[in-house]
């Protein structure tokens, strides 16, 4: 069993996201480590790309801050090596960086280097499943998982193609639009979960989740995990704005992580209670 599969094996998984190097290398290390203390089971660690597609303003802000602080693919791998965490790490980035790395023209160099640094898997929003084969092969060769995002609009042949390529977990996008924390959650998570119900990988729901109650509801709806990005990046951004010391921001992140993880655990507990008989 891979490290990622193991992370989903007992109980609901809490999967937080932060951009590596936001707002600077050292602070960012402590922020990611704070997520583990707060209960993260898997961490999605963003490698910033200058031309993201369909990221909301929160994640974009993180990307800009990290790039301005000097984050690059090479620096990212050092960052991963410097991280003191035991949970599996998923590298979230855009295909261009993977394709361009090393000799270029293919994903092999990037995946080899990432795996050596301690990356367990990848999620690449702009990688079409139709063109995933080279990355899939590189992942297989280096023992990494390849996570795919399934949108509310994904269906038919595309859905089947993703099913045949995906490993680790499937990222179920809860609603349409760009990334970003929301106060409400659309009912589309349930529909989306239904469409992947038969898949033999864990289902993690993301997009717009920002509170413990959201996390609970998502797990109650049948998800195996919750993915949270913007709500955490908001805390980093706020820290930058107010000039708070890194240790304060880290402790806020840990607190938010704990709230989200506990929400997920409440959802799992609710699922275990026998349903009241309907008459």
């Amino acid at each position: 069993m891979s490290r990622i599969s193991a992370a989903f094996a007992d109980g609901p998984a809490f999967v937080p996201y932060l951009a590596a190097g936001d707002p600077d290398y050292e602070s960012s290390l402590s922020y990611v480590e704070a997520l583990e203390r707060g209960g993260a089971d898997v961490i999605e660690l963003g490698l910033p790309f200058s031309e993201p597609i369909a990221e909301g303003s929160t994640i974009q802000g993180a990307i800009v801050r990290a790039l301005e602080a000097g984050m690059t693919p090479t620096r990212y791998f050092e960052f991963v090596e410097d991280l003191d965490v035991d949970v599996p790490l998923v590298c979230m980035t855009y295909y261009n960086l993977i394709y361009q790395f090393g000799e270029g023209g293919g994903p092999e160099d990037f995946v080899r280097r990432a795996a050596a640094a301690g990356i367990d898997g990848f999620v690449v929003p702009d990688l079409p499943a139709e063109e995933a084969e080279p990355l899939r092969e590189a992942c297989d060769e280096h023992g990494c998982e390849l996570v795919f995002i399934v949108a509310p609009t994904t269906k038919g042949e595309r859905l089947e193609r993703i099913m045949s390529q995906v490993s680790g977990y499937v990222y179920v996008q809860a609603r349409l639009g760009t990334t970003g924390a929301r106060t409400d959650l659309s009912g589309r998570a349930e529909e989306s979960l239904e469409r992947v119900a038969e898949w033999d990988v864990p289902k993690a729901v993301g997009f717009g989740i920002s509170t413990g109650d959201h996390a609970q509801r998502v797990i109650e709806a049948g998800a195996d995990g919750v993915i949270v990005g913007s709500a955490l990046v908001d805390i980093v951004a706020q820290g930058v704005e107010r000039g708070d010391p890194a240790v304060t921001v880290a402790s806020r992140l840990e607190g938010k992580a704990r709230e989200l993880k506990e929400g997920a655990l409440r959802g799992a507990a609710a699922n275990e209670r026998p349903h009241p008989e309907r008459t």
Binding site: I53, Q100, A151, T178
Partner: protein, 383 residues
Amino acid sequence: MADGTFDGYGGRHVPDMLEEPLKHLGQAYDEVADSESFQADLRDLLETFAGRPTPLHYARNLSERYGADIYLKREDLLHGGAHKINNTLGQALLAKRAGKDRLIAETGAGQHGTATAMAGALLDLDTEIYMGEKDVERQRMNVFRMRLMGATVNEVSRGGAGLADAVDAALEDMAENIEDTHYLVGSVVGPDPFPRMVRDFQSVIGEEAREQMLDRTGSLPDAAVACVGGGSNAIGLFHPLRDDDVAFYGAEGGGKGEGSGQHAAPLAEGEDEVIHGMKTRVIDDDTEVHSVSAGLDYPGVGPEHAMFRAVGRAEYTAVTDDEALAAFRELSETEGIIPALETSHGVARAIELAETGEHDSILVNLSGRGDKDMQTAAEHFDL
């Protein structure tokens, strides 16, 4: 090319939620491409609203000076002053048929934004334009034109505050509002179906020019020349001539010249990358995207051009800011036609080709007029 790629370039490199809507758009486009009523509606608008067909002008003075016959396809005479309207009318009609009530677009020089605002006003569609702050500053007049026609202009301040950043902002808007909004991409760039759809709408340029050349001279030109930013006016000229014995020359924004690290010439001096939903040629990371003309100030290029380059069908070279400005002045003085600064890159390349004597007849796509560039010209030439 049914899969939306051009020998491996292009494709749809987009997050999954955009995949399905883009596929639908591609299917909707395939339907109208074959629909006689759609094509008749579009033809009518192109003739009565945009001013087609545009003339083919024999540039007598320039030809005499350089010893080759130079013909200008006068897209600068279209409504709005550039070839952009060919595409915006096509896509706006398509959006209308698909039941969308809102258009969004990115713009660099403001020409595409203006042409989108025109189509939006004509077809009664809400229109919002994304434009980099830097471009808003240097193309004020077009901002006023867009607003006057009822479009909202959103200034984009992130990143380099240029065309690439405006594209990012428009892609986000599209992701948020996919159900009622059509993203009217302004060039042969982005994910499928945009590169082939925009090409088809712009192909009217080459189709007309082909016939006009045959009518006028009894033969096709030896060479066809166009400037290349995203590459829509060039593809519009090249595509209908691709199976003919006509050499293609694309003139990219060479910026401050070779070795300056400041240009917009991904075909002449770039590498293969994935950007804005497509695999194509992109300037490398050490280069700052720069051109004196806002319309060429883009780090990537249409994937079909990347293919033409790879297979050797077209030759792409970088024309510097200074060379373009010189051609801008020369065409104004010799022919009484003030070309856009973008277009001037193509004119410069044509003059260079005429000088070498390699080709007897050269067809240049005069893609836009230079009124919008008066401020830059006044400063540069101390007018």
